[in-house]
Amino acid sequence: MSEPIPGRNARLLVPPLVRTGEEFQVRLLIQHPMETGFRRDVDGNILEVNLLESLSLDFEGQPVFNALTMNALTANPFLTFVVAVKQSGKFNARWRDMKGNVGSISASVRVVAA
């Protein structure tokens, strides 16, 4: 059985349909061990540090957030933000960890007149 690639499995949750200017939640969950480098395995060997190095979320090129440091995010980081958009489009999240694994996920939202 092959190991799943860390950070490849993620969810980006947005409501499918919103009104113009309506505030809604964007929820981002990334399956990633966020290994701190302070833990040891059963043989006493230090587990190599592997945290997310960069993580950003944008909507059609406009930034929602850009993480500069994520030292203490839990394993499988989960972040929620409240956003508002004026037109239909796609949210796009991308990330990279210390081992060079990259991932991305996108989710579309349709905006209807208020």
Partner: protein
């Protein structure tokens, strides 16, 4: 200005927390930064059962913004092996300067939430979190 750029933006807020009565800043270069309380709220359990996942909500009172925007949000956990827990730049798509997530804590400590506004003002809110189990089991 070059020298100022290398100092982390949240440092004055941590400094202000360490010295409740206003004293000389740790660094002369930080004197210009204004640190205020009241605009930012850090919502974190005061008793956490395990440090491996402590839920946090960091939010700003929009009424106190007075036309300014929130440029950055940060969470500092001074007793963690890596004290800077989380640092985010916020973008224009956000409707509310509000962040919900979960962090790891290594020890019982005061967790400090910091917000940097567009005019450079820092808002700070610290909460003492009592931890019954650490996220670090290795003696760090």
């Amino acid at each position: 200005m070059k020298a100022l750029a290398v100092l982390p933006w949240w440092l004055p807020a941590v400094d202000a927390f360490a010295q409740p009565t206003p004293q000389k800043p740790l660094d002369e270069r930080l004197r210009a930064a204004k640190v205020e309380r009241g605009g930012l709220s850090l919502d974190i359990p005061t008793l956490a059962e395990t440090g491996t996942s402590v839920p946090v909500v960091l939010f700003v009172d929009p009424a106190k913004l007075a036309g300014r925007t929130v440029a950055r949000l940060g969470i500092i956990a001074p007793q963690n092996p890596r004290p800077v827990a989380l640092e985010l730049e916020l973008g224009s798509v956000l409707a509310q300067p509000r962040l919900t997530t979960a962090i790891r804590l290594g020890a019982t400590q005061a967790v400090i939430g910091v917000a940097q506004l567009s005019d450079g003002t820092l808002w700070q809110h610290a909460i003492e979190v009592l931890l019954t189990g650490s996220a670090c089991f290795d003696g760090t």
